[in-house]
């Protein structure tokens, strides 16, 4: 059943990539303008990882835990509905066991605190995430060192770290490798870069960077704007 549910995920496109994702110790990012569904897309990624049996820590720098957990509930329900399944209890409890939300409200985020919190989870709960999802970090303002520290965290616990990055309509900078703002000056830090873009009938999730290999031509998927599930 879990396999069936994973096939519905927008992130099944990772299967077309060279290493099926950034891989342990590496970082990935999804770039999109405001309102396109970055958080929902990251939650789908979280669900995909959880259904694959991985442990995740979802770090939110904007939304409260309640909000994030509701996102997980609603999108999980959408997946179940799409799969024609109603018996969610068993899987739902698996998701709860393998997921922790860490929220830093009112600009209280400090990377040192995150390290301490991860350390607490590991030592006190024996909970070491396979994937860290970081939503709401201001890419435009964050210095390069912050990302380097994140990279150290990823390598230290051998986890993948995924970010969301806010693009702006009026900033159209793109580097020579085709990576747009706000990742155009730090793209070498990311093993995988994806982008959400609006199209007439929905939103397209496409891969812009896949490690150091060319991105396969079929590495994009058209998503429903409401559920962000493949159309």
């Amino acid at each position: 059943m879990k396999k069936k549910l994973r096939e519905i995920s927008p992130w099944k496109i990772l299967g077309t990539l060279s290493q099926k994702g950034p891989g342990p110790g590496n970082m990935g990012v999804i770039i999109a303008r405001a309102g396109l569904g970055k958080t929902a897309c990251l939650v789908h990624l979280g669900l995909e990882k959880l259904l694959g049996g991985e442990k995740i820590v979802h770090v939110s720098l904007e939304g409260t835990p309640d909000k994030i957990l509701s996102y997980y509930d609603i999108l999980f329900y959408d997946i179940l509905k799409a799969a024609g399944n109603n018996n969610q209890e068993e899987i739902s409890s698996l998701l709860q066991r393998n997921r922790v939300v860490l929220a830093y409200l009112n600009q209280s985020f400090q990377i040192e605190r995150l390290k301490e919190n991860l350390d607490n989870l590991s030592k006190q709960m024996d909970f070491v995430p396979d994937t860290l999802i970081v939503d709401g970090l201001e890419f435009g303002d964050a210095p390069r060192e912050v990302f380097e520290e994140f990279q150290q965290i990823a390598q230290g616990i051998e986890a993948e770290i995924w970010f969301s990055a806010l693009a702006h309509r009026h900033i159209t900078e793109v580097n020579e490798r085709g990576i747009p703002y706000p990742c155009n000056n730090i793209d070498e830090l990311f093993a995988l870069i994806a982008q959400l873009e609006p199209v007439g009938s929905g939103v397209v999730l496409k891969i812009l960077k896949d490690h150091e290999v060319p991105v396969p031509p079929d590495a994009s998927v058209l998503l429903d704007t409401k559920t962000l599930l493949p159309k």
């Binding site: 409260t64 922790v100 939300v101 929220a103 301490e116 709960m125």
Partner: protein, 693 residues
């Protein structure tokens, strides 16, 4: 009459424990001249605040029963329900919210939005209660109302708008600046009863202008007229009030007031806010179920001339008999009227009608829609609906959570025995989350409730109010049994021992059913079980749920489908089929792989961030699951799901882990399967104790 309803406000005051809501209520009563002296919650004068009328409440400094009272302010009548802040008494809060039209959410200026504020706010959302916020204790060291406003936005998802800014903070708090009139307000006199208005201190003028801009921005979202007035620079106070009121009633805006009730500052503007922004009963839509029309929902009208529909939402024992708090939703009542209790169709004559003022009362002759009154000498249960007999409506019942904890009690002496049963009978009527029963096997009296403190308070009340001296056992978790798979049954009950025989056969299956205790499905075709015997079958199955065959806990979540059977023209009877159902249940139950369920609580712990690790570890040791951890400045809120069985004594553990700087609240989340090893232990323990008896 409807003009009077226009000028009526039914409000609650709810918040986290120790936010000062009882003190706020006390000041409100003083300023509205309902009382003539002020006493503190834990006052040195030994009198205690007016709303904490129960002896025990005064002693502990907490509010247990939500006493109702009313007062007048600027031509408006206000009914106030003071609600408990401790989560164990949440049913009181739930009941208060059911009958209220608006509420004041009291927040501590230092602690901000705390765990219980979140619980209470969730409840207010459930009953769609519009509210305004009062940030209290702005005189305390560390008070930061701006941070609390931000928390209202981020933690409670409100759209808060500051109606005032403080003049000074912490020890220097001396008044507030009203951002609508742009005047400074000071509170003078012994208890702040003299409100003086003046110019805004020059050093606050710029901030006041900027915050007023924010206020206008937020309010203009609800009024085009105000938007135009802003653009044309001709904003009038009335326009702002109207827009704020509109936003508040839609629950899309939360006006925020500031002050310190203890220091007598900022309370009168809150009262102004109540009458200006909170709804009258006419502005709230209430619904009832029409029992003569298959329970179809009907909208009630606050018309005093319409047929009476009223809800008994709280009972209290007094030296003069049972006192029943009643909210009238439709129609009106007069002293001497005959009321019909929808539940049992019994008619009662209304002897005495009173308006409550904490533990004092005022006799009145009549009351109309929207009002909250109290009746004397009416025998009923909390949650009963009363009508004048012209309609057969029932008000949707208040959500009542299942008890999660139980305790064995026994009288210490013979004299206490009857007092104890009198008390238990009374408490069960007053509080639907409190239950009492005699265990058939052990003969022990078992009381059940929502938490340790909940039961502790009732045991204390038994001693104090009823003079019953009782001994208590160790609190026990309310375990349940549930089946985990489908199992078939086909059972024939046959008895022939002289005289009339007994015969009945039932066949079908049982299967797990989530979200319900018991569901009976009749799929019998061709009259193989005659219709008149089916109630017997249902009763037979239901009687088996009281004690599961695995360990003896009550059974929940079972669907029984009966699809075949047979009868004998002479020997079959309802009793015979009842016995057949019992036999069928016994035949199938163990095949359906029953498991033990335990209550799992949603626990919310607030602590200084440096203790996050310690707290997480304590949760882990208790079979808990961390759901989230949210940091906000120096404080962290950890949300977890933990089996109730592991939470006994947690308050003490938490205190020692965090140097007394953390606090927690918990509420029932769901019943979950007990892990195998533990289930074995429970079975062993119970089997052992049975053998020992």
């Amino acid at each position: 009459m409807s003009e009077n309803i226009h000028n009526l406000r039914n409000i609650g005051i709810s918040a986290h424990i120790d936010s000062g809501k009882t003190t706020l209520t006390e000041r409100i009563l003083y300023y509205t001249k309902r009382i003539f002296a002020v006493h503190e919650v834990k006052g040195k004068d030994g009198v205690g605040a007016k709303m904490d009328s129960m002896e025990l409440e005064k002693e502990r400094g907490i509010t247990i029963s939500s006493a109702a009272t009313y007062c007048h302010w600027e031509g408006y009548n206000i009914n106030i329900i003071d609600t408990p802040g401790h989560v164990d008494f949440t049913i009181e809060v739930e009941r208060a919210l059911r009958v209220l039209d608006g509420s004041i959410l009291v927040l501590c200026g230092v602690g901000g939005v705390q765990s219980q504020s979140i619980t209470v706010d969730r409840q207010m959302n459930r009953y769609r209660v519009p509210r305004l916020a009062f940030i209290n204790k702005c005189d305390r060291a560390g008070a930061n109302p701006y941070r609390v406003v931000e928390q209202l936005r981020t933690r409670l998802n409100h759209n808060p708008v500051l109606m005032q800014i403080p003049i000074g903070l912490e020890g220097r708090l001396s008044g507030v600046v009203d951002l609508v009139s742009m005047k400074a307000i000071y509170f003078e006199g012994r208890y702040g009863e003299i409100v003086k208005k003046g110019d805004i201190p020059p050093d606050l003028l710029e901030e006041a202008r900027s915050k007023r801009e924010e206020l206008l921005d937020a309010a203009s979202m609800f009024s085009d007229e105000l938007t135009e007035a802003i653009l044309e620079e001709r904003v009038k106070e009335d326009l702002i009030h109207q827009a704020i009121r509109k936003g508040t009633l839609k629950r899309e805006l939360t006006p925020v007031f500031l002050g310190s009730a203890y220091k007598n500052m900022g309370v009168q503007p809150v009262l102004d806010g109540v009458v200006r922004y909170l709804p009258s009963p006419l502005e709230i839509e209430n619904r009832a179920l029409d029992l003569d029309n298959e329970g179809k929902e009907v909208v009630l009208s606050a018309d005093p001339g319409a047929p009476l529909v009223a809800l008994a939402f709280k009972l209290e024992v007094t030296p003069y008999g049972q006192l029943t708090y009643l909210r009238i939703y439709q129609g009106s009542i007069r002293k001497g009227d005959e009321l019909t209790n929808t539940r049992n169709k019994k008619k009662v004559k209304l002897g005495r009608l009173v308006r409550m003022h904490a533990d004092e009362m005022e006799d009145i002759q009549e009351a109309g829609a929207g009002e909250i009154v109290a009746l004397f000498g009416v025998d009923c249960y909390s949650g009963d609906t009363f009508t004048d007999g012209r309609v057969n409506y029932s008000l949707t019942s208040i959500f009542v959570p299942e008890p999660v904890i139980s305790l064995a009690i026994e009288p210490e002496d013979h004299a206490s025995s009857s007092k104890m049963s009198k008390a238990l009978n009374r408490f069960a009527k007053e509080d639907p989350t409190f239950r009492a029963h005699v265990d058939a096997e052990s003969g022990e009296t078992i009381i059940s409730g929502m938490g340790e403190l909940h039961l502790e308070v009732y045991v204390e009340r038994m001693k104090r109010e009823f003079g019953a001296r009782v001994r208590t056992g160790i609190p026990e978790v309310a375990y349940r049994e549930a089946i985990s798979k489908r199992a078939e049954f086909n059972y024939t009950h046959k008895k022939q021992t002289g005289g009339a025989g007994q015969f009945g056969r039932v066949a079908g299956f049982m299967e797990p059913a989530k979200g319900t205790r018991f569901e009976f499905v009749n799929q019998v075709k061709g009259g193989v079980i005659p219709t008149e015997f089916l109630p017997g079958v249902e009763k037979g199955f239901e009687s088996c749920l009281e004690r599961g065959l695995l360990v003896g806990f009550p059974v929940v979540g079972v669907r029984i489908v009966v699809n075949d059977g047979s009868f004998h023209p002479v020997d079959s009877s309802e009793l015979a089929f009842r016995q057949a159902a019992i036999g069928a249940f016994r035949q199938a139950y163990m095949k359906a792989k029953p498991v033990i369920l335990e209550p799992v609580m949603k626990v919310s712990i607030e602590c200084p961030s440096e203790f996050q690790g310690n707290v997480m570890s304590s949760i882990n040791q208790r079979r808990g699951l961390i759901m989230s951890s949210a940091e906000d400045g120096v404080f962290t809120t950890i949300e977890a799901k933990v089996p109730l069985a592991e939470m006994f004594g947690y308050a003490t553990t938490l205190r020692s882990l965090t140097q007394g700087k953390a606090e927690f609240s918990m509420e029932f989340s769901r019943n979950a399967k007990v892990p195998e090893k533990l289930a074995e232990k429970i079975k062993e323990k119970l089997t052992g104790s049975k053998k020992g008896r």
